[in-house]
């Protein structure tokens, strides 16, 4: 596929000061009575992005999506699409389509009629309509099911009909509300990649709402992590995972050990934190905005921690001693829950690269947990 080679060029319009945002959400607030669903939010999304709104339920992500679709009007603020203010445009006049969480397929219409519905509303002539419906059926591999009614399809097939129906009008932006939520795990993983391929093929900007962080990590060009109607962080999946900007983001995405400590040494290229909680000094090879002496948190991902039965050469920094409290064997990984002397638990995940270890680590062993200076992140909030 020639798309694959094109995608090797880094796609990062958000780092390009020349690039114009395609969708601009400017100071948008939405309240329902006393409840603030979206709180003064500003966000830029670029053309061809696969943008995720990620957060727990009730964080305002669906409300934001519904405002983009036009089903809700912002209480204040502006939503611009391709330079046009959309705030007052009703949903049936927006060049935006949505794929609903429940799919919302019309039960009295066949697959074909469902997909053709949008084109029919626009008065697309019959021949062209048939051609574009066929094209979509091919794209989602449902050509054989064109004459079926939605209740005669499996969940995965319905999901693909919903996708085809929302893509057929070639919208400027496609909104997806938990698109894979109703599928089982295996099918969901497979569909994630299909969705990415389709997005690259059609070149439409996708905005997806999800509460599944793995899904967001897999499909997105960027992720906005949301909390209580506000954006906690907007960044690429890698940045979100490796450099979360707060304990909330670090804990929401993946597993993490958070160690509380005090900054004792602050330099441009490194910092040292003294943690009484972990009873060690932590050396991080990255600067921070916080002042020396302030309380900070250090986040270390479990897979970045090494577990050893013997002490390292340099036991003063980035080294915690504890006893193995519990072991979880996952096949590819082994998870060690290590209990420190003061009772705090730290989790380490070790890849099982060899089938058998020379000397396996087992329950109640005294172990040393170590990590590299570039593995930890200092969080100030």
């Amino acid at each position: 596929m020639n798309v694959a080679s094109a995608s090797r060029v880094p796609f990062e319009p958000w780092n390009d000061p020349q690039a114009k945002p395609y969708i601009r959400i400017v100071n948008v607030t939405k309240t329902f009575g006393d409840f603030v669903a979206v709180d003064n939010m500003s966000l830029d999304i670029y053309q061809r992005e696969f943008f995720s709104l990620l957060g727990p339920s009730g964080c305002g992500k669906t409300t934001l999506l519904r405002m983009l679709a036009g089903f809700e009007r912002p209480t204040s603020g502006r939503i611009e699409l391709d330079g046009v203010d959309m705030s007052a445009v009703p949903p049936y006049e927006r060049p935006v389509n949505m794929m609903f969480q429940s799919y919302a397929l019309f039960p009295h219409m066949t697959v074909e009629e469902n997909i053709a519905f949008g084109l029919r509303q626009d008065g697309v002539p019959k021949d062209e309509r048939a051609r574009r419906v066929d094209e979509m059926l091919g794209l989602v591999q449902l050509t054989k099911f064109a004459k079926r009614k939605p209740h005669q399809l499996s969940g995965g097939q319905r999901q693909r009909v919903a996708l085809a129906r929302s893509l057929v009008k070639k919208p400027k932006m496609l909104l997806l509300d938990e698109p894979l939520g109703a599928l089982d795990k295996k099918l969901r993983e497979q569909t994630q990649f299909e969705l990415m391929n389709i997005q690259e093929q059609v070149g439409i900007t996708f905005v997806i709402v999800t509460h599944d962080q793995e899904e967001a990590m897999t499909v997105s060009s960027r992720i906005a992590v949301m909390n209580h109607g506000r954006i906690a962080q907007v960044a690429t999946p890698t940045e979100i995972y490796e450099y979360p900007n707060s304990r909330y983001v670090a804990e929401f995405i993946g597993d993490v050990n958070v160690l509380e400590g005090r900054l004792t040494e602050v330099a441009a290229d490194h910092v040292v934190i003294t943690s009484t909680e972990a009873d060690t000094h932590i050396y991080v090879d990255r600067g921070t905005s916080a002042a020396s002496g302030s309380t900070v948190w250090v986040a270390v991902r479990p897979e970045k921690i090494d577990v050893a039965l013997t002490p390292p050469e340099q036991p003063d920094y980035n080294c915690i001693k504890g006893t193995v409290w519990d072991i979880g064997y996952l096949g590819n990984l082994t998870i060690y829950h290590v209990k420190l002397e003061n009772g705090k638990r730290v989790t380490a995940a070790v890849a099982n690269r060899r089938r058998l270890r020379d000397k396996p680590i087992t329950w109640n062993d005294e172990v040393y947990l170590t990590w590299a200076p570039d593995s930890a992140v200092v969080l100030v909030s």
């Binding site: 679709a69 935006v96 519905f117 509303q121």
Partner: protein
């Protein structure tokens, strides 16, 4: 049941389980005694008294007692002849004993049916009834759909109240409600006329003449049967997934058009159910035309009553009602098929 029985076994399960054992042993016992040929029937008979059998049997027993037996009695009378007797008709089966021969005769009198199909007044009465029922059904749909729609889209907290308001008239006797309409529509001193005269909209010399016209009958029928239209429509519209309308809007469909291309097609099962529930009883309606429409409206219900009560021609009246039933069975069967199809579609 003794306390020693395992306490985690629900009583109901125990009963059906024991019955099942009983039926099995009965079956085996019959077969042992060489009665295997009769076993299915006997086991079926006893299964009627087991929990599940009894539940299934209830509607059949009901149907047998209150529909099939009365129907066959009416059918029987329809083939009889009038007689000066009590009851006023002849028997169908007669014993003949003239000294030489000794036999039973079965005499089916078809003259009643012949009368119905050849005499103009009957044919016209049937057609007129069907026409009145059809117009009433259409009027009920035209009024009932907006009502049901408004109810189904009202806020969830007031929906039970609205539903109650639709059902409430049933708490008053049907006849009283019809008489109430007579009081409202009366030409001389009727509530409607009094009101219109008092606000000066019409002159006292020229009051509205509604009662004893077809109009009054339609008002009566539509009023009486409207709930039968509203309730199935409401049940249907209330269940509708409103995200479908959002999906339609999202795909460029204006709300008014979405009503016609999404809401109405999805409401068709409710529309059909409501129409049958109004049409079927409206065809045989007797009370409302009798009380409200004056003498000029000929419907089959009134014809039937005259034959039965004034003419004391029970066989003819019975034939009229058998034919009426046959006419109604067609839409009833269509209705049943529609219901079955819906169940098959699983929605």
């Amino acid at each position: 049941m003794s306390a020693n029985d395992s306490p985690d076994r629900p009583a109901a399960a125990l009963i059906t389980h024991d019955k099942g054992d009983f039926l099995e042993s009965l079956d085996a016992g019959l077969r042992r005694r060489g009665l295997g040929f009769a076993a299915p029937v006997i086991v079926w008979f006893f299964s009627l008294f087991s929990g599940r059998g009894a539940v299934i049997a209830v509607p059949y027993v009901f149907l047998l007692a209150f529909f099939l037996i009365p129907f066959f009695i009416v059918l029987k009378i329809s083939f009889a002849e009038t007689a000066l007797a009590i009851p006023p008709y002849t028997g169908l089966i007669e014993m003949v004993d003239d000294g030489f021969e000794y036999y039973l005769t079965l005499k089916l009198n078809l003259a009643n049916y012949l009368t119905i199909f050849t005499e103009d007044t009957y044919v016209r009465a049937y057609l007129n009834s069907a026409k009145i029922a059809a117009i009433s059904t259409a009027l009920c749909l035209a009024i009932g759909f907006p009502m049901a729609y408004a109810m189904a889209r009202a806020s969830e907290s007031i929906r039970p109240t609205l539903l109650m308001l639709v059902i409430l008239p049933f708490w008053t006797s049907f006849l009283i409600r019809v008489y109430a309409w007579i009081v409202i529509l009366k030409t001389e001193g009727g509530l409607l006329n009094t009101f219109l005269i008092s606000i000066g909209l019409i002159s006292p010399d020229n009051p509205l003449r509604i009662l004893n016209t077809e109009w009054a009958m339609y008002i009566g029928i539509v009023y009486s049967y409207l709930p039968f239209m509203v309730l199935p429509l409401y049940a249907n519209l209330e269940r509708m997934d409103l995200t479908l309308l959002e999906a339609a809007a999202d795909l460029g469909c204006r709300p008014i058009k979405a009503f016609w291309v999404v809401t109405v097609p999805l409401a068709i099962p409710g529309i059909i159910a409501g129409c049958f529930l109004v049409f079927i009883p409206a065809v045989g309606e007797y009370v409302i035309p009798e009380l409200m429409s004056g003498d000029n409206v000929r419907v089959i219900g009134r014809k039937l009553f005259t034959d039965f009560a004034s003419e004391r021609n029970w066989p003819l009246a019975a034939a009229v009602s058998v034919v009426l039933l046959m006419i109604l069975i067609i839409p009833i069967m269509l209705f049943q098929r529609q219901q079955a199809k819906l169940q098959e579609a699983g929605r």
